[in-house]
Amino acid sequence: MLKNFRLLILLVLVLFLAACALDKGGYTPPEKHPVDAELPPKPPICVDCHEARNEDFNWAQYNHTIFFGQDHRLPASRQNNVCSMCHTRSFCNDCHATRVELKPSDKNPTETFRRMPHRGDYLSRHRIDGRVDPTSCFRCHGNPKTASNCARCHG
């Protein structure tokens, strides 16, 4: 096992070195969204300024429509550096982290505009949601550390 691990780390390093050597520079979004674009704090609709898609990118997928807070998983898993153009890592990691004791709606209770899903008496509702679709729980509570809160009752 250790041998496999070393080989795979070596492979990652080789791939990285190859990338360094062959760096031909495809499109990558800038580190931060241009300041002079005056991105408002309100939920941005990217296609208000960008084309829905151009040869570099498909911006329409990143429109912050009314359900984007719940449904951004697929575009974020392909190009999360688009997220980091406007959001710091800590913003994402308030929800997407291995262990943050305060659930997001308790850490930011005044940010009601985010319509955070575990708000209110989710303890009661999760009995129903969890039986209807347990995969939605597993996505965030799917490893022993993130499931430690679940194990208090379900253990």
């Binding site: 710091t88 291995t98 009601t112 008496d121 129903i128 039986r131």
Partner: protein
């Protein structure tokens, strides 16, 4: 702190403190971003059959040091700690803490090359994991990009320590002009030497005529030799409307379980609790849904969501919700959400009503800069602990000081529900942004 006893978090905390101490001497050359947030909560809970006041205080520190060297190296760190002032025994440990992330990043200028070393959260195709290790990404041609990571999975550290824990994987993507992006990703992880995850994924973003886009991901569990998940969506913009039909499919055996831990043969450590029974259930779920969004104007948005759940063994369920949202200047928003779960699979239904507002465009006569409120009401078809409803009410207010360098926020929450006859909670938070307001 008790929960920070593991070697790697301690290392990162030491590194974080060292950087803080060094900061004044190097700050002339650095672009830094430091945020310190303190949160004091107050609530009552039954501990050892008597009600006790619980007063946990939380601290969050975010530290970003950019351009540490001229060659594009930066540091990013985020950690939290908690101390229960009353030592109420509500928590397993009076003090707790965790390094959420802490890594050095190398970013080559005018290039796609990036590399990170330390603790980081990795989103790469099939991966959504916190890793202590190395991550690197770059384009080898304008059309082909690669990324890879290797290290130890933080999520598996709580079971028998970190010996035999490892994770590695990556994603290769092909960028086909303005037509499509296709990616292949892998994730391989072990817990205590046993298999935890063996996943291969294919993701696609395919631009169709009329600005439509098909995108999604399929995950294959090589250990179970079957697909764990298919999640695909079609984005259809029609004038100010956006329709998004979607299809999700999960095979429980492949999705919840993999590997063979010895403790739970055929299930694996990853799926221990509370999901291990699902990993042996032979069940599967297909979710057919439709998200619709109507941007009536820049200020008025309407949305509806429909989900239809079908199972291999269970009864079907449906969920329907509608949202109306008003968006004002800055963060001002007011809205209403109504949802109905026809939860045949859960032997229960509920009706959900949510009203919320956040107002930060207040007249100057107000003593605060913003106010917020949230009301969540749920009505259950069947009693839960002799109650058929939940009511949650939250009121909040906040003010900015020193040219927005300091934010003070206060929130009071009240809940009456199947678990609490009358629950009152308070949260006071202070966030200081170093460098702002000068």
């Amino acid at each position: 702190m008790t929960g920070v006893g593991q070697l790697v978090p301690r290392w990162f905390f030491c590194g974080l403190l060292t950087l803080l101490l060094l900061l004044p001497s190097v700050s002339f050359a650095l672009s830094s971003n430091i945020e310190l947030e303190a949160i004091q909560r107050s609530f009552e809970r039954d501990v050892s059959s008597q009600s006790e006041r619980v007063l946990p205080g939380y601290g969050f520190l975010k530290l970003e040091l950019k351009d540490i060297t001229a060659s594009g190296i930066s540091f990013h760190g985020y950690a939290w700690g908690r101390y229960d002032i009353t030592d109420s025994k509500y928590f397993d440990n009076q003090a707790e803490g965790e390094l959420v992330y802490g890594y050095l990043e190398y970013r080559k200028k005018f290039s796609t090359l990036r590399a990170r070393l330390g603790r980081m959260h990795v989103f790469e195709g099939v991966a959504n994991e916190t890793v202590d290790g190395l991550w690197a990404a770059g384009s080898v041609t304008p059309k082909i990009s690669l990324s890879g990571y290797a290290g130890q999975p933080v999520g598996l550290s709580s079971t028998n320590g970190r010996g035999g824990d490892l994770i590695l994987g990556g994603r290769a993507a092909f960028h086909g002009s303005d037509k499509y992006d296709v990616g292949v990703s892998v994730k391989f992880s072990n817990n205590d030497g046993d298999a935890a995850d063996r996943l291969i994924g294919v993701d696609l973003s395919w631009a169709l005529p009329k600005d439509m886009t098909l995108y999604g991901i399929s995950k294959f569990n090589t250990d179970a030799s079957s697909f764990a998940e298919h999640s695909w969506e079609l984005n259809i913009p029609v004038a100010e409307f956006t329709l998004k039909p979607f299809l999700q499919y999960y095979d429980y055996d492949s999705y919840f379980g993999t590997g063979d831990s010895g403790l739970y043969p055929g299930v694996g450590d990853k799926a221990r609790l509370p999901f291990r029974n699902l990993a042996k259930s032979g069940e599967s779920i297909a979710i057919l849904g439709l998200d619709s969004f109507w941007r009536k104007s820049e200020t008025w948005n309407l949305g509806a969501k429909l989900k239809y759940y079908t199972y291999d063994q269970n009864n079907n369920s449906q969920y329907l919700s509608a949202v109306v949202n008003y968006i004002g200047e800055q963060h001002t928003q007011t809205g209403c959400e109504l949802g109905y779960m026809n939860g045949e699979a859960a032997n229960n239904n509920y009706l959900l009503l949510r009203l919320y507002t956040y107002q930060d465009q207040l007249p100057e006569k107000f003593l605060v800069d913003f106010i917020s409120s949230d009301l969540v009401y749920a009505l259950y078809d069947q009693m839960i602990y002799n109650k058929d409803s939940s009511l949650f009410l939250s009121l909040g207010a906040g003010k900015h000081f020193f040219g927005d360098a300091l934010d003070l926020k206060l929130s009071g929450d009240y809940s009456v529900d199947p678990f609490y006859t009358s629950d009152l909670r308070a949260t006071l938070s202070a966030t200081y942004y170093f460098g702002r307001g000068r």
